[in-house]
């Protein structure tokens, strides 16, 4: 009896100090993008409701990818939930490194998820990660500058038209540049955009036998055009400008146009963070001679490594973070402009969201029309729009991005840069066994 008393007292004491011997701990690795930071903030509520403890590792996109890939490929088992994209999901799903999502709880409306996003995160019909937010690319432009110059931005511009607008609106006196465009080298940086430009100029990245196609006439045209445009009408230092720098420039009113991720809309539209919140117009990302593959599809999603022993609890958290209810909560509490976009049909029928976000309709159009399979003028052996969803892509497109940056800064010609990149790609693909 004495023993029981001790047990009872210690249990009470433990409860008083908040120690619950049965609680699960989930280790989550995520990207330090604003939407995820918000998720982290609100997850304190989840912890309170469910008694689960959440531990967070928050890193920038490239470092996180490196860290998570190292861990998952070496079976390190550090994480229960990882934030990955539509690049890793099919590859790792195929490897068996991720736990599939075969069954969702009844109240979780999985059919509400946009089909193109759902398919991008599946392998052989099974979902291997659940989208947290998704995006495409669009053209942002300054309505006031266009009006003043008597110009009109069409809904589906071409790059030629964009170049023309840039020429007319570039103004050294006022410090407004015709166009702000990505130049920072990297597969997720300048190549994210240039992969699209390659597509709409009629090119592809690999021929059917996996030899490189980036030194084709189409690609030479595309990159010649880009280098010309960026150097003539872009701000100085283009080669150092990625998403962030251009966002900054646009928000500070230094750009007449900017082509980039649809998520920038929320940031540009926020008067607290942007000086041009009331002067923005939106259009689709440009096409050229080919009218598909002009905008990317990207989704940040939550997955569960196969090594995780807390799969059930992880699943519950993921459902919470990607549900309609979560989106509604963020809308009510943080403002509808800042909800995680691009994942659900219901988001785009929500009147409150549509009222707060004039960019919602073009965003949805861009996401729905983005196809990972059908986007190039010539047949291609890979899935993906602006990059091939294969393990070797990162090294190949990083190199390509570097070479193009070299052409941009005049260190090499466009032709030499693309030839060098093609040779490099062939070398890597031969080593990896794609090219026999």
């Amino acid at each position: 009896m004495f023993k029981n008393k001790i047990a009872a007292i210690s249990a009470t004491v433990m409860m008083a100090f908040g120690v619950d011997a049965q609680a699960t701990t989930l280790t989550i690795a995520t990207v330090n993008n604003p939407d995820m930071v918000v998720m982290q903030k609100y997850s304190a509520q989840y912890e309170k409701e469910t008694g689960v403890t959440l531990k967070w590792l928050v890193l920038d996109e490239n470092t996180l990818r490196q860290r998570v890939t190292t861990d998952i490929a070496t079976k390190g088992g550090q994480f229960d939930i990882i934030t990955i994209g539509l690049y890793e999901t099919p590859i790792w799903g195929k490897q068996g490194w991720l736990q599939p999502f075969e069954k969702f709880s009844d109240k979780y409306d999985v059919n509400d998820i946009l089909p193109s996003v759902k398919d991008a995160l599946s392998y052989q019909g099974k979902m291997y990660s659940v989208p947290f937010y998704a995006e495409s690319a669009m053209t942002f432009y300054r309505k006031d500058l266009f009006e003043a110059a008597g110009l009109k931005m069409p809904e589906n511009p071409t790059w030629t038209q964009i170049a023309d607008f840039a020429k007319k609106l570039d103004n050294k006196q006022t410090g407004v540049h015709g166009i702000c465009i990505r130049g920072l080298p990297g597969w997720g940086e300048n190549m994210a955009l240039l992969g699209l430009v390659g597509n709409v100029f009629g090119g592809t990245q690999f021929n059917m036998n996996w030899t490189s196609a980036v030194n084709s006439k189409a690609w030479n045209n595309a990159i010649d055009f880009y280098v010309n445009l960026a150097n003539k009408y872009g701000p100085p230092g283009v080669v150092g400008n990625g998403f962030n720098e251009n966002l900054n420039l646009m928000a500070e009113g230094k750009c007449a146009m900017w082509n980039d991720a649809t998520v920038a809309a929320g940031l540009l539209f926020d008067p607290k963070r942007s000086k041009v919140a009331d002067k923005l117009g939106f259009a689709q990302n440009p096409v050229e001679t080919w009218n598909k593959g002009g905008a990317w599809l990207w989704a940040w999603s939550l997955g569960i490594p196969s090594s995780s022993k807390n799969g059930d609890e992880a699943r519950k958290f993921i459902e919470w973070a990607t549900s309609k209810e979560y989106i509604n909560m963020i809308g009510e509490k943080e403002g509808w402009v800042t909800i995680p976009p691009g994942t659900r049909k219901s988001t785009y029928t929500n009147q409150k969201y549509l009222a707060a976000a004039p960019f919602a309709a073009p965003t949805l159009k861009a996401i729905e029309s983005a196809s990972l399979v059908d986007n190039t003028a010539v047949p291609k052996p890979y899935t993906g729009i602006n990059f091939a969803i294969i393990p070797e892509m990162q090294a190949i497109n990083n190199y390509l991005g570097q070479q193009i940056a070299g052409a941009l800064t005049g260190k090499t010609t466009v032709k030499a840069a693309l030839d060098s990149a093609a040779r490099n790609s062939d070398k890597i693909m031969t080593k990896a066994g794609y090219i026999k």
């Binding site: 100085p236 080669v239 420039l249 990162q394 090294a395 800064t409």
Partner: protein, 301 residues
């Protein structure tokens, strides 16, 4: 009064004249054995992996023979990468040693607020290389909103786009800024152990400050400078964070050095075999550089 020749004293210390015998190995054993494990185990693994064709995302590893080395040595960029590595070692080295000497001399004598000013000079070393590079990239070098651009516009010049036109110089500036405190600290501490009587003696013999500096101070600093050069070789050979955060090795391969090459060509593609082969290559190059140093500096060490 005879002017003491410091080099004679040091030469004397080289000959084995210690009359006391002590057991040397028990003192050496701890650090040596620990380092041996740290050196041997990863090295053996790296050598093993360098002969495997192994992509982490497309396992398993298969024996690849010399495929990684072949890939490495047929890479047209390799000579540029090696050259960049050497430039990134000797550029900052030159700057930090000269500035370090100058600053150490400056802070060697007393003046009001010396300890605060000295701490300020050492401040760069406290900052993480990643952060330092970001600060320089955004606050100074950026041609639109950087301070240098603002200053250049004030005097009517076109702002320099550092990372496009002078990427290597920009990186060298950042690395030098980060490491000058290190050099200053080592040389300053060495200066403080300099025998003041020798300088006084020289002064009373009528030697001017410049020749005092050359004939009394510099010889005393030979060894600290030699050690400094050896250590800086190690640190600068592995410059990585500064490149990652600013130029990502570009434009083209203009600022890719060997560690960054390993990262971007191998690790980014999760090609463990290639990363290992390139690691072996890095050790080779580093040993060649070190050999060159040891040949020239061995008496000083």
């Amino acid at each position: 009064m005879k002017m003491m020749n410091t080099s004679t004293i040091h030469n004397k210390s080289k000959s084995p004249r210690s009359k006391q015998k002590i057991r040397v190995w028990p003192l050496l054993l701890p650090s040596v054995s620990v380092l041996a494990i740290w050196a041997v185990v990863p090295l053996v693994l790296t050598i093993w992996y360098s002969f495997q064709n192994y992509n982490l995302q497309a396992p398993p590893a298969v024996f690849g023979g010399l495929i990684n080395f072949e890939f490495l040595f047929t890479d047209g960029d390799l000579p540029v990468v090696v050259m960049n590595t050497l430039v990134m070692v000797f550029g900052p080295m030159l700057i930090t040693v000269i500035l370090g000497l100058a600053f150490a001399t400056l802070y060697d004598g007393p003046f009001p607020g010396r300890s605060i000013a000295r701490l300020l000079v050492i401040t760069p070393f406290f900052v993480m290389p990643t952060v330092a590079a970001l600060v320089w990239k955004n606050l100074f070098f950026h041609p639109v909103w950087g301070l240098l651009a603002w200053a250049e516009k004030l005097v009517g010049l076109e702002p320099i786009d550092w990372f496009s036109s002078h990427p290597m110089l920009a990186i060298i500036i950042i690395v030098s800024w980060l490491w000058t405190p290190f050099s200053t600290l080592i040389l300053l501490t060495a200066l403080q152990s300099l025998d003041r009587e020798q300088i006084e003696a020289a002064r009373m013999d009528g030697a001017k400050s410049v020749s005092r500096f050359i004939y009394v101070v510099l010889p005393h600093l030979r060894r600290p400078v030699a050690v400094l050069l050896m250590l800086e070789t190690i640190f600068f050979l592995s410059t990585y964070a500064e490149i990652y955060v600013t130029t990502m090795g570009g434009p083209g391969a203009a600022t890719t050095n060997i560690p960054f090459y390993i990262f971007s060509r191998a690790l980014m593609g999760f090609d463990v075999g290639l990363a290992s082969a390139a690691g072996i290559f890095a050790i080779l190059i580093a040993n060649i550089v070190a050999f060159f140093f040891v040949r020239n500096l061995s008496e000083q060490l």
